[in-house]
């Protein structure tokens, strides 16, 4: 539910660009993929912002850039107003405590050689002084309890748990450093429906109790609608629409958002068999050679000559709901 302070931004992405250099054979460069091609986005303290889009559109790259696993080619990542790329290494490492990342596959993201207790204590070994050593065991127990695991789980290894339990461990581990922002990259996508609901509820409870903010990355529009306050829709490295959950889901303005919402299966789909369904043709173009003008124009049923020539900017019209389209649907 609504959280203590929900106004000042804690994370700001400012025209972020992240590229991967492709290597072809040894040493030879095969060009660059602009996986994130100019993304601006704000996450405020204690809120949940959803980032949706199809695979390959650059969601994980945004996540990896925020937590510092890859360096941006240009643009800025500001955490509480401070530019992460200009921070000295030492301060950067301290700041790492404030931003945590939870991956899609909890098994791959937990060191298989470490017990749960060791996994949870690892951050305290790294950031000495965060939790005094004599309180480690107690703290481990309280973290496990917090995420719905039992104290005796502490001595087991990740492979002895089910998928949902492993994700709980990953969450506990992220919480161990008391972060202010958690980036969840498809963190519930690999889970079965019933377990997914447990984890979604847990994430919500944690936010209510601890005031942590989430950047919640997912390709599942239903889940995003459930958990997020605001939503950004990404296509081929760019954000095409962003706004409050209600405005985006009730009045999608970008043709891509409309198609995405129409394509997402829902429990009610059996009711209207011949419902107006927008089925996009073709596939997402390669980010190696994005289309000129609007990146979506090759699949867009609204596209006109102007879309080929001029790239639409992400502009706010009358509302707090910017759309990057020359011909957005009226809201």
């Amino acid at each position: 539910m609504s959280t203590p302070v929900m106004d000042e931004p804690i994370l700001e992405l400012d025209d972020l660009v992240t590229s991967y250099r492709l290597t072809r054979g040894i040493g030879r460069s095969g060009g660059e993929v602009r996986a994130v091609a100019g993304v601006s986005l704000t996450v405020r303290a204690g809120e949940t912002v959803g980032l949706v889009g199809e695979s390959g559109c650059g969601k994980s790259t945004v996540a990896r850039t925020i937590v510092g696993l890859v360096r941006p080619s240009s643009g800025r990542v500001l955490f509480e107003g401070r530019d992460l790329s200009t921070l000295p290494a030492q301060e950067m490492r301290l700041l790492r405590q404030d931003i945590q990342l939870i991956f899609q596959d909890p098994y791959a993201s937990l060191n298989p050689r470490m017990t749960v207790a060791a996994l949870l204590k690892e951050p305290w070994r790294i950031h000495r002084g965060l939790v005094p050593r004599e309180r480690w065991d107690e703290e481990v127990r309280s973290l496990l309890d917090r995420v719905g695991l039992r104290a005796e789980h502490a001595d087991r290894y990740p492979h002895q748990f089910s998928g949902g339990q492993r994700q709980r461990i990953a969450i506990a581990r992220a919480l161990a450093v008391r972060p202010r922002l958690i980036v969840c990259d498809e963190s519930v996508s690999a889970l079965d429906v019933s377990v997914r609901a447990q984890i979604l509820n847990l994430l919500k409870d944690l936010q209510r109790d601890l005031g942590v903010a989430y950047l919640f990355i997912s390709h599942d529009l239903g889940v995003v609608r459930h958990i997020c306050d605001r939503v950004a829709v990404m296509y081929l490295g760019k954000i095409v629409e962003v706004g409050s959950k209600d405005s985006v889901y009730r009045h999608p303005s970008h043709p891509y958002t409309q198609a995405l919402l129409s394509a997402a299966p829902s429990l009610d789909d059996w009711r209207d068999d011949e419902r107006r369904e927008i089925v996009l043709g073709g596939d997402v173009p390669s980010p190696l050679s994005p289309p000129s003008g609007c990146r979506f124009r090759t699949r867009c049923w609204q596209a006109q000559d102007r879309c080929r020539e001029e790239e639409p900017a992400l502009i706010e019209r009358d509302t707090d709901h910017p759309v990057a389209c020359h011909f957005p649907a009226p809201s």
Binding site: G27, R64, V67, G68, L69, R93, L94, R96, Q97, I99, Q100, L101, F103, D105, A108, S109, L110, N111, P112, R113, E122, P123, I126, H127, D137, A151, E152, D155, R156, Y157, H159, Q160, A170, R173, V177
Partner: protein
């Protein structure tokens, strides 16, 4: 520190190891037995049956296996052209061979481990330099390189070890680099980075443990091959000084008596073949049975 403290034990632990050992095929037991016998013989043999390179005993020259020596002892494996007991000589050679092989693998392995970790984990120019140097060296026959180095450095056990270690580090570096690259981008390593772990910590706690099992396999195989290389150098007179016994030099001496006293060359030759093959089998075994969890 109260309440529950059950340790459910991971797949592994001492009991399963024993059970796995019992389930091994016959050739494995033979190989393990052979290696153990040779190791113990190399360790204790020279104490029981000392070898003195300076001693000669003309009446006992070129006696066949089983013959009685002038001092009344039995030469179970015969004697050589100066009347030395081949058994004593082979036992002493075993010790040389083992020492050189183990120290070489230790030194070469450590250097290879370090450079392989750096190359695999950091990549970039460090990897470029280390890998190129390695490639160039591998293009050059390793024994030739060892001969060259040993020739320049002169005969001594330390120099043999240096020469051989220089030829071996590349192999270890490659194995380690491969494993390091394989885990470097794994999500659990990324998640340690996100935690703020330093490079040193990641290398030590995350990358290294995954590199050790393949390194162990490579090291085992290399122990055998280094024994061959040491014997080859000694055979050519570039190995340990003549005051120390070596299978290679014994075989070289026996070369002139192949027709009359075959046992001089045959005994150390057979010992070498047996121990190298056994170590090879052991290496294969390690590779096959290494716990899938440790390969992560």
């Amino acid at each position: 520190m109260t309440a529950v403290r059950t340790t459910p034990g991971r797949s592994g632990g001492p009991a399963p190891v024993l059970r796995r050992l019992a389930a091994l095929p016959l050739r494995a037991h033979l190989a393990i037995g052979t290696v153990l016998v040779f190791a113990v013989a190399g360790l204790l043999g020279p104490l029981i049956k000392p070898y003195d390179s300076a001693r000669t005993s003309p009446p006992d020259r070129l006696l066949p296996p089983g013959a009685r020596l002038s001092d009344g002892a039995v030469a179970w494996l015969g004697t050589d052209q100066v009347g030395q007991d081949i058994l004593a000589e082979v036992l002493a050679g075993m010790r040389t061979s083992l020492t050189v092989a183990l120290v070489t693998v230790l030194v070469g392995g450590s250097v290879g481990l370090f450079l392989g970790l750096v190359a695999g984990y950091f990549g970039g120019w460090a990897d470029g330099i280390i890998s190129r140097v390695g490639d160039i060296q591998l293009a050059f026959p390793s024994l030739l390189l060892a001969i060259l180095l040993a020739g320049v450095l002169g005969p001594s056990m330390v120099n043999v070890i240096i020469a051989l270690a220089v030829t071996r580090w590349v192999i270890f570096a490659r194995v380690v680099r491969g494993s390091a690259i394989a885990v470097r981008d794994r999500e659990f390593v990324d998640s340690a980075r996100v935690m703020g772990a330093s490079h040193g910590r990641i290398l030590l706690h995350y990358i290294l443990p995954s590199c050790l099992p393949p390194l162990l396999v490579a090291a085992t195989v290399q122990v055998g091959l280094t024994m061959v290389a040491e014997a080859s150098l000694s055979f050519l007179g570039l190995g340990v000084p003549s005051s120390q016994a070596s299978w290679g030099s014994t075989i070289a001496e026996g070369r002139d008596y192949l027709a009359s006293a075959w046992w001089i060359a045959a005994v150390p030759g057979a010992a070498l073949a047996l121990v190298v093959v056994s170590i090879g089998i052991l290496g294969d075994l390690l590779r096959d049975t290494s716990d899938p969890m440790t390969e992560l």
